[in-house]
Subunit: 413 residues, 2 copies
Amino acid sequence: MSVGIRHDDLRRRNRAMVLSAVRRAGQPSRTEIAATTGLSHSTISAISSDLIQEGILAESKPSETASLKRGRPQVGLALKPEAAAVVTVVLSLNFLSLAVIDYAGQVIAEEQRRLDTLTMPRNELIGECLAIVRRRLDDPDLDVGSVARIAMGIQGITDSHARTMLWSPITPLTDIPFADILEKEFGIPATMENDCNMMAVALQWRDPHRYRDNFIAILLSHGIGMGLVLKGELFTGTHSSGGEFGHMIHRPGGALCRCGRRGCVEAYAGNYAIWRSAMKMSEDAEPVDVGDADMRALAAKARETDGPEREAYRRAGEALGFGLGSLFALIDPAPVAMVGVSAAAFDLIEPALREAIAQTAGGQHSNSISFDTEPNELPLIREGCAMRALTFVDQEIFASGVQARSGAGKNVA
Amino acid sequence: MSVGIRHDDLRRRNRAMVLSAVRRAGQPSRTEIAATTGLSHSTISAISSDLIQEGILAESKPSETASLKRGRPQVGLALKPEAAAVVTVVLSLNFLSLAVIDYAGQVIAEEQRRLDTLTMPRNELIGECLAIVRRRLDDPDLDVGSVARIAMGIQGITDSHARTMLWSPITPLTDIPFADILEKEFGIPATMENDCNMMAVALQWRDPHRYRDNFIAILLSHGIGMGLVLKGELFTGTHSSGGEFGHMIHRPGGALCRCGRRGCVEAYAGNYAIWRSAMKMSEDAEPVDVGDADMRALAAKARETDGPEREAYRRAGEALGFGLGSLFALIDPAPVAMVGVSAAAFDLIEPALREAIAQTAGGQHSNSISFDTEPNELPLIREGCAMRALTFVDQEIFASGVQARSGAGKNVA
DNA sequence: AGGCTTTTTTTCGAGCCTCGAAAAAATACT
DNA sequence: AGTATTTTTTCGAGGCTCGAAAAAAAGCCT
């Protein structure tokens, strides 16, 4: 089954450990790296000396705080920004955004574009995505040769290998192999990631204290999505990106969901569902798009008077609560981050949510389950894509040593 | 975060690979092992020569089928039965069973006992478990020194490290650290495993073709349990054994569940729930124990006439179907094995189950989801415990080389 | 029967890798 | 300026895997 460890894998893995330690810690000294990896000082010394020679790491001036101690001061190691670059492409409803990010994680270029994703034919949609990347790669200011990875993120379902968009609410089109398309066009390795998974990855980097080994990111937007990290690893389905929390069944045969089925959590907690309920429309009413501004107005009204608007949020909370309860029955409770427009209305959702979750087996100690909110999902998705792409470069390219790098490598003797 | 690879880990890991390959394949030749592990012939030769010298493996006579080919015949390597032994203890409702299993996986001794688990005080329950083990270890026919691991399985929730029984339907007692108790008493490393997880492990070994990377084992008995294998690995919760499929919410505020809450899948599909429904009792009626014979009679009656009995099974199927639908939304569909008394009544359950699952997002291709049934759970649980314990011996004891083994080692120079 | 072919297994030297100890480097303290 | 302290590098030892070649153990062929 799983394959044995060859002798050359050893160095590769330990180089990867060092890179990972540096990316996580920022500017760790060799001694710190030795401590976190458990490898000997001599090994760290050898590996970091190689990595510096190859132009992947650079020594940074000793941190000023260290001056208090006696002894030889530690010298920090940092990722060399010019060692490589990655490109992120995020496709969401009527909106396409791109960023170029250096190896140290800084944004060095970006571009955004509105487009009518719902009605675009297949060729045009793909064409726009390729064009925005090409424009940036053609930029003479950019060292094109150093772009080592493209990570595309999309709202919707992708396959478990992160290569193909299987289905998305932003377009009627299905099964677009974006990763293959990008790779063929630009000759740069690419992935097609699920938006909520990338949100989770970003949270892990933003707040590793709170979001480390086990947590849940839930997107409360038009639809309901989820990114799940268990035991420090992104959880995906066996075939698709999985984690379709929004389509767990809340009430069998219940309200009509955007997916065409009935009773999904989303059919009670998605923006369209809250809107439909607040407007006292039938649960069978066809889902409609609701703008962010309208949702904010709805939330304001719900806060003001105890009418159908407030009841709509209450029902959304109930659906989310029972859904989370079922999820917690499977994985045990974990911290939750609520992301998206309706996360700004979490005050309206939370009471019913907690009440519902307390009625479930998974929510036994519902008070100890903590929620955090973040109304803006796009920056998170981009950050997640960036970190995904960068760690790929760390683990799969730079860890392997001997690779022809055109960008920063040219200065090396 | 994760730790670097030391030089000495290399050998350990590769020895573990070889042992795993031999356990999986039965009597593979060195050449076959080299092929499956990807290691070189020289390495396999060196490692297997060590393992033979240490009394862990033994050469077996060349297989007769190979005689057709030219060339030097392959010589098979097999696990040496005397290299070690493990003990399994399975505790279920009013029933305690033990088995001693040799390193090659053959049962070499067993004992079973009835006891009144529901009313036994804490000390007695623990005492019975210790006593049954002690009796076997005191057996003069048994080479006690070679017992390298005890795996205990219990119906109920265990912690994610497989050390403590947190809760079980077979006793009102909670939080019994059986693993620690056994270790302290006998000085042999022990674990406390969840029954459904062990069913899943056993299926993986019984039919690796069907149950390999992704599958689900569901226990249809008094309660509803689940063991889940994803990407080849047993899935557990973050704190508990997790996978409490039976307590996902089917109908918010619905029928009374044994767990005291309402609307759980189990409150519709557990034996007591089917019985309650067939007897036209209220959904609020307190759950009662139903014997296996009674359940078989109920199933027979349901097959005979289209009355409340058949309807009860239909409702059970519906609950299981919507529950599976929600589960599949999270992990994507996978093969399912139905285990336990009510698996023998799966013909009564299946139609409604398929109908329900077809109404869910996860069950889009409900016809392609395949079900298998196995009415007897106890043998599976024992097998799972045995394989768990044996692979522990492979990976954690024998893989590390230099260890003082009393049993088979004494013949080594 | 004896030599030849084929396949499996072992042997042997080369090349890496990590480790521990000791040396070197760089700073604060006295 | 010398000493103590801490970090980093150097160096030799020991292990591990690998590839190539040799050895072993059959069947095949004349």
